[in-house]
């Protein structure tokens, strides 16, 4: 009987401590010390939220750099809504899946057409494969540099200037040795718009 009491009272005690006090304490300390991060690293334009430096968004216009393909699904049915942060997801396609080979081949041919590349030119893998979250904010330098001519043309810019800007905006590896070098697509496109 006493041990049953302990089981129930411990459950109640732990529900309060771990389910209430602990997350609320992290919340308070977080807003005190790192309030921008605690709220999702949002990027504002006046009073509207235009994105987050951590979350990728869809770009299709020629004067913007394009992110990786995204496999976030349409929650109401089949198919996908790219870069939907309300339902992060990968494609989950196997390496040996025929559907995967077909999708990548199609994406590569679209990528070449879009960026004026010859059919013989190889396409960086990240440009034609979906990320693990479907919200990858980054692309590789290889991918960004191949898109530079298209964006420069659409914006009447000198491609070599744009390429220098890409290199200057590229980030990583963190602390010089962790992770890989990458370019944040939203930050790059924002920099183009604001001319910085």
């Amino acid at each position: 009987m006493k041990s049953l009491y302990t089981a129930f009272s411990a459950t109640l005690f732990l529900l309060i401590v771990t389910g209430g006090l602990y997350p609320l304490a992290v919340d308070m300390a977080g807003h005190l010390l790192f309030s921008r991060q605690a709220d999702g690293s949002l990027i504002m334009k006046g009073k509207t939220v235009i994105g987050s430096s951590l979350i990728g968004q869809s770009f299709v216009k020629p004067d913007y750099f394009h992110p990786r393909p995204s496999a976030t699904p349409d929650p109401s049915g089949s198919g996908s809504v790219p870069y939907d942060p309300a339902f992060s997801s990968a494609s989950n396609l196997a390496l040996t899946s025929g559907a995967q080979v077909k999708a990548v081949t199609q994406a590569a041919s679209d990528y070449r057409k879009e960026n004026g590349l010859s059919p013989a030119e190889s396409v960086p893998a990240d440009a034609v494969t979906a990320s693990g979250s479907g919200l990858d904010p980054d692309i590789t330098l290889a991918n960004a540099l191949l898109q530079a001519n298209r964006v420069a043309k659409a914006r009447n810019m000198d491609p070599s200037v744009l390429k220098k800007r890409i290199l200057a905006l590229s980030e990583g590896p963190q602390w010089g040795f962790l992770g890989e070098r990458h370019v944040n697509v939203l930050k790059l496109n924002l920099a183009l718009d604001t001319g910085h």
Binding site: K2, L4, T6, A7, F8, A10, T11, F13, L14, L15, V17, T18, G19, P23, V26, D27, G30, F34, Q37, A38, D39, G40, V49, S52, S53, L54, I55, Q57, S58, F59, V60, D84, A86, S88, A90, S91, N92, A94, L95, T96, S97, Q100, V101, V104, A108, P119, A120, P124, A125, S131, G132, D136, D138, N143, W175, G179, E180, N189, L190, D193
Partner: protein
């Protein structure tokens, strides 16, 4: 591997090598010596006496009773989500089978997720049900482990400790402070923590996005430190909010090893045999390192089927290359391989990439890790599994040389060997029979996403993950059906408690035995020879049991890939 890859890898391994002994030392303090005032206070409040010793049966009954109540509380919250507070998006309650599956999953430290976090759980469910179950599931595992270790340290005693004492000592002195501290580090790097539910976004091209926010950071540190693995978001550690930078990625897999890789050193301290602890650590690290090297190599190779499409998968100054499907750009191959190997070896089950899109050889490693489940294995119970294998290996060695087997001064007799073997056969029985059933009935086959051998791997992986209380998934498999939710839910409960009970009984039996002094004829178990013997035993038994299933899945897929065959 490039120089850059090697530098990251070597530094990470150095960090593990420094962290594990230090934490082992700290945990030895946690579990010995007098109770702190706050612990005695909690004992009075919840009416348990931390000094009152329990027999293995009392310990087991207390553990099971507590877990049953934890489970019930979690189930009721998830099942009643629709009428509970902090749900401004008006998300409906989980279906009963999914609520059952989830409560079973989190209380057993599995964290298999048959739901998509951001789409289906309110912040109340995430905070109260999920965070609570993550804490108590992991805490239970570590308490049980310490009780099992007492079987080896005690001599001629009928008791193995007090469950609540072990539970709250670890919770207060190590688990909760570590979670809070690391949550703050994750926050600094960009993981959100707020009670806001969602934010509407107007994108640069004039589109709409909705960000789902909530108490993510507090869940994130806990998810890894507790080797739980259940993420706030559907994409888990691949989601940039859960795992924003390569630094958080590194910290996450180091968190997974903080308490698990330190256990051999805790064992060495508690038994007064530090060399034995190092021997066990060596066994773990051999399997861990081998797993990493295979994954890294396989993923670096990219997908050969994409070569005809003119896809550049070679690492260079401009890209990390490799098999990028399902992986995040900021992590690349090496960070992903380090993370994936650790999360499976330590049975966390968090992922920072899509397991379903991994190379078949990587999947072979994941499946092998889950079948062995003790390198280092989940919070506590993983190491208990290693002790069980050691007893069987000593028994086998004794048979070979004709000596009566002994382990750490305790005679290993029929009862101990039977209990260890009983615990050992649970995994193959559950995993193989459930897989066999699922791939033969329509309810099992209809959930499979990818064709060919890979589809078989999805099912095998699901049941291996459920039994090992791992929780990672080849997420293409639709596990939210009544058949999978129920069968995996039951399997997680059986896979957790069935092997644990014989091990507690084993501890009870061993504690009662006297420790005999070593003689010149004693078979030493802290030597490189024993490390090799134990590794050989584990791999042999594992291979004999699981080889046929592995051939049908990853090995067939590997050779298909090599020959350019797609399905």
């Amino acid at each position: 591997m490039t120089t850059h890859d090697w530098i990251q890898t070597v530094l990470v391994f150095l960090a593990i090598g420094m962290l594990a002994p230090l934490m082992g030392r700290y945990l030895a303090w946690v579990f010995t010596g007098p109770s702190l005032r706050i612990e005695r206070g909690i004992g009075r409040l919840l009416r348990f006496d931390p000094e009152k010793e329990m027999s293995w049966k009392e310990y087991a009954i207390t553990l099971l009773g507590a877990n049953a109540v934890f489970f019930l509380a979690g189930f009721l919250i998830l099942w009643g989500q629709g009428v509970l507070p902090l749900n401004p998006r008006h998300l409906p309650s989980l279906a009963p089978e999914v609520a059952f599956n989830t409560a079973a999953s989190f209380v057993t430290n599995t964290n298999w997720q048959a739901y998509a976090g951001e789409a289906q759980l309110s912040n109340f469910s995430q905070m109260v049900a999920i965070t609570f179950l993550m804490f108590v599931g992991a805490n239970t595992g570590l308490a049980a482990l310490v009780a099992i270790i007492r079987g080896f340290t005690r001599s001629g005693v009928a008791t193995i400790g007090n469950f609540w004492n072990d539970f709250f000592r670890f919770f207060l002195r190590a688990f909760l402070p570590a979670c809070f501290l690391m949550a703050m580090v994750h926050l600094e790097q960009g993981t959100p923590q707020t009670l806001t539910t969602s934010v509407a976004v107007n994108t640069l091209e004039g589109g709409q996005q909705t960000f789902i926010l909530g108490p993510v950071a507090s869940l994130e540190s806990l998810k890894n430190l507790g080797t739980n693995g259940g993420g706030f978001y559907n994409a888990n550690g691949a989601h940039p909010y859960e795992n924003p930078t390569p630094l958080t990625n590194t910290l996450e897999f180091l968190e997974m090893l903080t308490f698990t890789a330190s256990i051999p050193f805790l064992f060495g301290r508690l038994t007064g045999r530090p060399r034995q602890g190092i021997a066990f650590f060596a066994v773990i690290m051999v399997l861990y390192t081998a797993g990493f090297l295979v994954i890294e190599r396989s993923e670096k190779g990219g997908n050969p089927l994409l070569a005809p499409a003119g896809i550049n998968q070679t690492a260079s100054r401009l890209q990390a290359g490799g098999n990028t499907e399902g992986k995040e750009t900021r992590f690349g191959i090496t960070q992903t391989s380090l993370f994936s190997n650790t999360t499976i070896a330590a049975t966390t089950g968090a992922v920072d990439a899509a397991m379903d899109s991994m190379n078949p050889m990587s999947l072979l490693v994941f499946l092998s890790h889950m079948f062995l489940n003790e390198e280092p294995g989940g919070k506590g119970v993983g190491f208990a599994g290693l002790l069980k294998e050691a007893i069987l290996a000593v028994f086998l060695a004794g048979l070979m040389v004709g000596r009566s087997p002994e382990f750490l001064g305790k005679k290993i007799e029929g009862r101990e060997v039977k209990l260890a073997a009983l615990s050992l056969i649970v995994t193959p029985i559950l995993v193989l029979s459930l897989t066999a059933v699922a791939v033969n009935i329509p309810q099992g086959k209809s959930s499979i996403d990818n064709p060919g051998p890979h589809g078989f791997e999805e099912v095998l992986y699901a049941y291996a993950s459920g039994n090992a209380n791992n929780g990672s998934a080849m997420a293409g498999l639709n596990a939210a059906t009544p058949f999978y939710a129920t069968s995996i839910g039951l399997e997680m409960l059986l896979g957790r408690y069935l092997p644990l009970l014989p091990l507690l009984a084993l501890a009870g039996a061993l504690a009662r035995k006297r420790i005999h002094p070593e003689t010149a004829g004693t078979f030493r178990t802290d030597t490189p020879l024993f490390v090799i013997l134990l590794l050989g035993f584990m791999l042999l038994v594992g291979a004999l049991t699981f080889f046929p299933a592995l051939i049908l899945g990853p090995i067939v897929e590997h050779y298909s890939l090599a020959r350019g065959i797609s399905f």
